[in-house]
Amino acid sequence: MITKPDEPEQIRDFVSDAINTVYEGLLLGAYKAQEYFDEGSKEINYPLAANIARYHAMQYVKSNRRVDDPYYLGELPNNSIEIRQDWCLIKVLKGRNGEPPTATHTVRSQEFYHQQPMQPNLPGINWINVWKSRDWKTFLQQCTRLNLILCWEVDYSYNISHVQLMCPRQSGRFWQGVKTFWRLPVPHPVLGILNLPTVDETQEVEDLPVFFEEHTAEQDNDD
């Protein structure tokens, strides 16, 4: 069994490098989408805008991923973004009114939302019941991999308005909405910049060279 953090916040911290880079990419992508429609003085076509935003976000993540970063970017059709990090699989999906989109009709999509393909098919573990369990702790004890959704939303002018990290439990039909184990807001990536050395910490400071007229600097050092 892989040791995983229990708390959703700890999981969010664990994947913070990946989700912050994607968030930065989405901010850039949303700007590129706005620019595209502004330049042509066209009304925003939202499906196309989402595609533009995803494309630029993807390019941004690709170009900003360092060799030693712990996450990997999946290559998917239609500029979809999928990230793998250790025992986490994160799909980046555009949501609406605080809700992620429901699963599509494909088996793969259904399984992702139901946390199914990630369960080991071992004797003694009834994984079918796992996703039915509403209890996060019970689920976590038995799962070895975790499917997550990074759900992003835009406002009317196509500015990124909310980003949430969610752990889906069951998709439901589109009118039922997605059931989740938990959902957490993702703070703006700027808020995740911590502990960088500041300008004054890079050099020592000497006190001012002020002495009595008859007193020399050498004498002061001797003191």
Binding site: E35, V199, E204
Partner: protein
Amino acid sequence: MINGLRVKQAREICKLTQIELATKLKVHQSVIGKMETDVREWPDELIRGVALQTGFPVAFFQQGLGPEFPLGSLLFRCRASLPANEKTRLRQIAILEFELTERLSARMKPIDLHIPSFNEVSPREAARITRTTLGLPPDTPVPHLLNKLERNGIFVFAVPEADERFDAFSLWSDTEPRRPVIIVSSNKPGDRLRMNCAHELGHLVLHRSPRGNLDELEKQARGFAAEFLMPEEAMRREITMPIAVTSLARLKPRWGVSVQALVVRAYELQMLTERQYRYMFEQISKLGWRKREPANLDIKPEKPRLLRKLSEIAFGVPPDVKKIASLANLSTTMIEELLQAHAGKADLPVSAKGELSKVIAEVDKATNVLKFKKVGD
């Protein structure tokens, strides 16, 4: 004998009009008017009343004239809405601080002045030459800016409890020799304080005898400050494409300037289009970072040191406030407030490098450490 200008100075520091002071003293306003224009004897009761209402000791009103900071020489960096009486108060407090510094440094060796002065040089060029004169490399951040300025002979003073709309002002004193003076607000974030100081330094080196309209002078000082704190060459190297608020935010701690200043700089250097520039400011506004940038990126504000250093040399550490008050003919409360706004020896920042050298020194002293020998030694 009572010096009328001292009465005026005390009244202006208390932000009282002549009528308000007269009402408090139960006299006609013309009495205060006369008091402020003459040097002559006045009834003891009236003087004690003025002293009581303003909080200044009687001796303060009996001393001669202090230095003058002519209004025309002051270049204020503040919002237009800063009231005139607050401007006057700030100017008068600055005069007090300057006068106190002069008195304290009477028997001390003055710090030599090492700042250039320019006439027909572009702000950008002036900033580059000033960096060299101050001993700074051409393309690195400027650590301990206030310390650098003070070490090079500029008097930097902080005004306690200044109006939040006030940033800084500067002037060349009318004393002999003339001294460049920068007055800063003591309650600004570190990045803002550094930008204010660089801006005022721009005024000091570019506008020793200011000519032209104020907007033009301000624009030049802004250009100077931008190049001084964020040199073009370094910015072109460090700001990477595509430019995002996050990537600029990562540069904030290193360069000690606000994210907004970096956005403006990138735009000035044509690294951002006008549309991108507007978009970034929209983002910053939306996140509520126009007035207050995120706390995780805070730069610790530096305090000026000179005034307190002189007090420490003359009257010990911590300085004897009563003795300073008696030297300056001011109240002990006022001296405490002024000293509080300036850095004491303990306030001097200890850098990470400094901490490390302390640790190394401790290890060197330790006797219970096995030292490894190199093969072949």
